[in-house]
Amino acid sequence: MNEPTFLILTALAGESRHGYAVIEDVEQMTGGRVRLRAGTLYAALDRLRGEGLIEVDREEVVQSRLRRYYRLTGAGEQSLQTETDRLRAQATIAEGRLRARRTNFGGATA
């Protein structure tokens, strides 16, 4: 799973959101490092809908424009959980090795 997909699923794990709210939430989550653009976002949303990981929650019209809210499905929750476990396992390994490295070198950095 690539990073934008992971972040979009994470944004929708909190609550159902419309497109621009997903962009803002992803930006907030990553401290401004990732700010999705519309082309990237909707390519991902279309793919995730096709894979059954997200679905449309509701629609509303704001200032004569359609606003569609998306939410995570059961399969999406499962997929996000699997990816989260994988990332956590990798982060734990990295953390352990960094700790061991600091112990071996008496806290000195190369």
């Binding site: 497109g19 621009y20 962009i23 653009r37 519309a38 082309g39 990237t40 279309d46 704001v62």
Partner: protein
């Protein structure tokens, strides 16, 4: 031009169905986003290309597996044709020492053998590795003589495009190892390659074609090619209806190379023949046409097929 008008124009690059589904919503997001400019436009263009590709490849995994198996088999047979041609000549000439097989021919045979094994086992990485080396080889062969006779690319183009198609098909193909069920290979996932003996027969004819000169069958060479082509055509027709249209999309890039080379490069070939001492390399536009037209043929036929299938499901 206002931002909205510019975004509306960029959104027309997307497939119609995508635009109908997300166009209004995307426009709302774009108008809320305070980052107009070139990166935003490039992101939309990239998204539109991805949407077209996704549409073209949707539901293609089963057809892609058939294309991978058939394509790898035929390219393996063609590689064997080159080697068997030389070996059979060595067997019949008085002095075989001057008849040698170059390393490229052996590498090509091995590469397509690996690609075929990958297609048979349903191993994506093995199929991709074999096809990538095979493709590299198909490209390398005409380029060995490109500086002397640029026209050699013309005769190799359809091999190169076929190799590209096999590589691309292998990357999106449905997985699962093949087992022979009667005369047809089949996967546990329900894919059955019908009329398989026709592909084997076409491959065998190509090998015989390679040995024709050695065994005084030179006059029958065109006949072998025609019958092999006919076998492949009958094979395609014998596939289930839902697979046939998709197979046509994969075959389109290969088939389009024939008129492309015949008419698109006619002047180039004529110039090369009339001026054997002057080298005129293939121009940038011609290179672009050789890559883009086969790709456009795939996308065009895939889109057309999707539309026919959609209309058929609506009318059902």
């Amino acid at each position: 031009m206002s931002s909205e008008a510019r975004y509306r124009r960029l959104l027309t690059l997307y497939p119609r169905d995508f635009r109908r589904e997300y166009g209004d919503e995307m426009l709302g997001v774009l108008m809320s986003d305070p980052r107009p400019g070139v990166p935003q436009a490039l992101d939309l263009v990239r998204g539109a290309v991805l949407a077209h590709l996704r549409l073209a490849f949707t539901g293609q995994s089963r057809a892609a597996r058939v294309v991978q198996i058939v394509g790898a088999t035929l390219l393996f047979a063609l590689a064997l044709h080159r080697v068997s041609g030389v070996l059979s000549t060595r067997a019949v000439v008085d002095d075989p020492s001057w008849v040698t097989i170059d390393t490229t021919s052996w590498v090509r045979l091995a590469a397509w053998g690996v690609a075929l094994a990958g297609a048979w086992l349903g191993s994506r990485w093995l199929g991709a590795a074999g096809a990538a080396v095979g493709l590299g080889n198909e490209i390398a062969v005409p380029f060995q003589s490109y500086l002397v006779t640029p026209a050699s690319v013309r005769y190799a183009d359809w091999f190169i495009v076929t190799a590209m198609v096999v590589l691309a098909a292998g990357l999106v193909a449905e997985r699962g190892a093949l087992r022979m069920r009667g005369w047809s290979p089949a996967t546990a996932e329900g894919l059955t390659v019908r009329a398989w003996p026709l592909v084997v027969a076409a491959g065998a004819l190509m090998v015989v074609h390679g040995m024709a000169f050695a065994y005084q069958l030179g006059s029958m060479r065109n006949g072998f090619v025609l019958v092999a082509g006919l076998f492949v055509l009958v094979f395609a027709v014998r596939q289930p209806r839902e697979l046939r249209g998709r197979l046509a999309a994969w075959a389109a890039p290969v088939l389009i190379t024939v008129p492309l080379m015949q008419w698109g490069f006619g002047d180039f070939i004529e110039f090369t023949v009339r001026n054997p001492d002057t080298i005129r390399p293939i121009g940038p536009l011609q290179w672009a046409a050789m890559v883009l037209i086969p790709a456009a043929a795939f996308l065009g036929v895939a889109r057309l097929n999707n539309r026919i299938e959609r209309d058929r499901s609506v009318n059902r």
